[in-house]
């Protein structure tokens, strides 16, 4: 028997001409805001449609008890106040992932009140329709937004919306969300459907939330029954597609042509390397001058303010408080902003274009080898820029356990700020060569820690989940301005509003330690006195109090480490603080210090973000303890082994 031809299925051609069911005149009346829920597969165009409907103004919170984003927005349509909800992208209502549970719950909670718009991807119609059928089982008012018609057409498929509506028994509105085509019609149709629902509900006086099927479990094998239902659903979908889709001769789509290169088993890798190099080059090249400029402006503003205060007769400490406390605190917050903005922009653009999914597939084998996942690759790579966006980039992993595994190892990858400090200090500790070797050793060490730790976590706390991660490869799209800039801005704003209090207080505390008592010489400051006291903490690693204090202050922000060391070692003699530092420890202890500096808890912002992204203070605390433990052990190990090998401590 001849098998099915590769990837070709040609259902009979129905009559053409896409027109929707007649639009009912929008029944005016109801004052209270109504709710429209957008449901659909990932990449079906929900967010694009959401932005069209709401003008891009989204309020983002988390769904209760989860870290999944809940995006809502408002729109007015012919005197109606509508709240639009962008539900997370899902393939089915099977409550396997958090996203599916949330979408399912939202549909059940709102059934009978809300209108559900299922965004169907016309170029991936079977999968979309399966979800449509599932949603229609639980929601009484459903409108299908048949999106991506341009893509479907380019792939040689004509979808007959009218036939589709007939087969489904639901209104279907053709749409090209990217170009805004069909949106007015969708709004009219949605409003009409909701009015109709209200009339029906009004007459019947009922409001039962649940639909049939979905929640009825058979006593012995609910699971097998669910599979049987899914099979039946897809069979029905096949029949519907056969009636509503006409397939012209299949051509290679633009995406397929790109993938011949991008997913080539050999050439795909140099291409990926080139893309990543370009992305990181752009990120650093564009953000470094911005960061410097922000720092310079704050310096200027701080000095001017301090001078003004002095002229007005204010005490010296007040000027110092403003300049080195408040404005330095603002600087600590703002220092993140250029990196974050650019990383989020690039990340969203890569995601939106579809290339991110290819990168995940290319590197998956490598990531799998250490117990991680291809989808987490970009998050890990991003961590070398800044750990904060890296942590939020793990959201693409749909299994919570996988996400936490990635989130726990990210802090062990040194961010740009840490790398900068490491470079300066490596040069200081190894003045007579060997610096490059030491630095390379540090980088390998961090990768080794990541691999070793994941292996350990996978065997203990976070065993691999049975459900595979979905690696869908959506067609390529040129990213749209709105889809990229809006989420990036949102991320940056959310970060700043979350973090500024912590960083400001922490910077003020550091200022108080180093600047008080007022008028005292640096050697008499509280910081210097504290250094004497905390020296005991560093004893097991042969670190003196000043190095311990540098580690402690580095917790606020890694950029401050060099500043702290400069203050503490500043008075220690000729050649400047760096030389003083280098002469105060042996290369072996210096190397151990660098390793500990690289591995211990990255910074306050990372911890706060960890808390946010894992959704639990427990995981954040665990991460802090883990990194302290790993850093301490590694430092001790390096010194022990080094001493055994005959190096001086």
């Amino acid at each position: 028997m001849n098998g099915p031809a590769c990837c070709a299925g040609e259902p009979p051609a129905p009559a053409r001409g896409a027109r929707t069911a007649k639009v009912a005149p929008g029944a005016a009346g109801s004052r209270r805001a109504e709710r429209w829920l957008l449901v659909g597969n990932p990449n079906a165009g929900k967010t694009t449609l959401f932005n069209l409907l709401t003008g891009g103004r989204r309020e983002v919170a988390n769904w209760p008890g989860s870290t999944v984003e809940r995006a809502t927005g408002r729109m007015r349509a012919g005197g109606r106040e509508v709240e639009v909800v962008d539900l997370p992208g899902i393939y089915s209502l099977d409550a396997l992932s958090e996203e599916e549970r949330i979408a399912r719950q939202a549909l059940l909670d709102e059934a009978g009140r809300a209108l559900v718009i299922v965004v169907a991807d016309a170029s991936r119609l079977e999968r979309s329709l399966s979800l449509v059928l599932e949603v229609a089982e639980v929601a009484p008012a459903v409108v299908v937004a048949l999106n991506m018609l341009d893509v479907a057409r380019a792939e040689g498929q004509e979808v007959d919306a009218e036939a589709l509506a007939r087969e489904l028994g639901l209104p279907v509105v053709p749409l090209v969300a990217r170009r805004g085509e069909g949106v007015d019609r969708l709004v009219q149709r949605a409003a009409a459907s909701l009015d109709e629902l209200r009339r029906r509900e009004g007459f019947a006086g009922r409001r039962d939330g649940g639909g049939s099927g979905a929640s009825s479990g058979s006593p012995q094998a609910p699971e097998e029954e669910a599979f049987a239902r899914a099979e039946a659903r897809f069979l029905r979908v096949q029949a519907i597609v056969a009636a509503a889709v006409r397939r012209r001769r299949r051509r290679a789509t633009p995406s397929e042509r790109i993938d011949r290169w991008a997913l080539h088993p050999l050439l795909g890798y140099p291409i990926l390397a080139a893309v990543l190099a370009a992305v990181f080059e752009l990120a650093f090249a564009a953000s470094a001058p911005l960061s410097d400029e922000v720092g310079r402006l704050l310096d200027v503003a701080g000095s001017a303010l301090a001078r003004g205060l002095a002229a007005a007769g204010a005490p010296v400490w007040l000027g110092s408080l403003v300049r080195d406390g408040l404005l330095a605190g603002a600087g600590a917050v703002l220092a993140f902003v250029p990196y974050l903005a650019i990383f989020y922009l690039l990340q969203e653009a890569l995601q939106d274009s579809g290339y991110m999914a290819r990168a995940a597939v290319l590197v998956d084998r490598l990531m799998e080898a250490v117990g991680l996942h291809g989808k987490g690759f970009f998050a890990l790579a991003t961590a070398y820029g800044c750990n904060v966006p890296a942590l939020s980039a793990t959201r693409v992993l749909e299994n919570p356990r996988d996400r936490i595994a990635h989130e726990l190892v990210i802090p062990f990858l040194p961010c740009n700020a840490r790398l900068g400090v490491l470079l300066v200090l490596t040069a200081a500790f190894f003045p007579r060569g060997g610096g490059a070797l030491a630095f390379g050793g540090l980088m390998l060490l961090s990768l080794g820690v990541v691999a070793g730790l994941t292996a350990l976590l996978r065997r203990t706390l976070l065993p691999r989940e049975e459900a595979p991660l979905v690696m869908e490869l959506p067609p390529y799209h040129v990213p749209t301005w709105r889809n990229v800039v809006l989420p990036a801005l949102h991320h940056v704003r959310a970060f700043v509003s979350r973090i500024w209090r912590y960083l400001l207080w922490a910077t003020l505390a550091l200022w108080a330690l180093s600047a008080l008592p007022a008028g005292a010489a640096p050697a008499q400051s509280y910081a210097a006195r504290l250094a004497g006291a905390v020296g005991i903490l560093g004893a097991p690693w042969h670190l003196d109090g000043r190095l311990v204090l540098a580690l402690l202050s580095g917790f606020v922000a890694k950029e401050t480490t060099l500043g702290t060391l400069a203050i503490l070692y500043g008075s220690a003699g000729a050649g400047g603080p760096v030389a003083a530092l280098a002469s105060s420890v042996s290369p072996l202890v210096g190397f151990a210090f660098l390793a500990m500096y690289m591995l211990y808890t990255p910074c306050l912002a990372t911890v706060v973000t960890l808390r946010e992204e894992t959704g639990s203070a427990r995981w954040a605390a665990f991460s802090v303890l883990l990194s302290l433990g790993v850093a301490g052990l590694t430092g001790a190990l390096i010194e022990q082994l080094g001493a055994l090998a005959g190096w001086a401590l």
């Binding site: 299925g9 599916e100 999968r127 399966s130 599979f227 088993p265 998956d364 690696m471």
Partner: protein, 106 residues
């Protein structure tokens, strides 16, 4: 040609296992990993744990579906599969669970 529609009849394609008790139905069939790049076949059964089966079912990887193997990543990396008009990747150990019949095509 009309492979997708043909799938109707193939839905009951899982053969009873020859080894009573021990094996699941379909265990003896070849899996997606046995296909060559460019070959397609019809899913006969998905064996394995329920998490795996449920997630694959959500993507339409169910008995009767036609799957085309479009490529594979080197060194035992994931397989590229076209299922129900969409392209996706699946790790080999997961693809192992998808048992197929009627392999054909290029």
């Amino acid at each position: 040609m009309d492979a997708l529609i043909d799938g109707t009849q193939a839905s009951g394609g899982a053969l009873p296992s020859p080894r009573a008790g021990g094996g699941e139905p379909g265990r003896e069939l070849p899996s997606l990993t046995d296909l060559r790049d460019g070959q397609s076949a019809r899913v006969a059964a998905v064996v394995g744990g329920s998490g795996l089966r449920r997630r694959l079912a959500a993507l339409g990887v169910l008995p009767g579906a036609v799957v085309c193997r479009r490529g594979s990543m080197p060194a035992g990396g994931p397989l590229l599969l076209e299922v129900r008009g969409a392209l996706m990747a699946l790790r080999r150990r997961d693809a192992e669970a998808v048992r197929v019949e009627g392999a054909g095509g290029r």
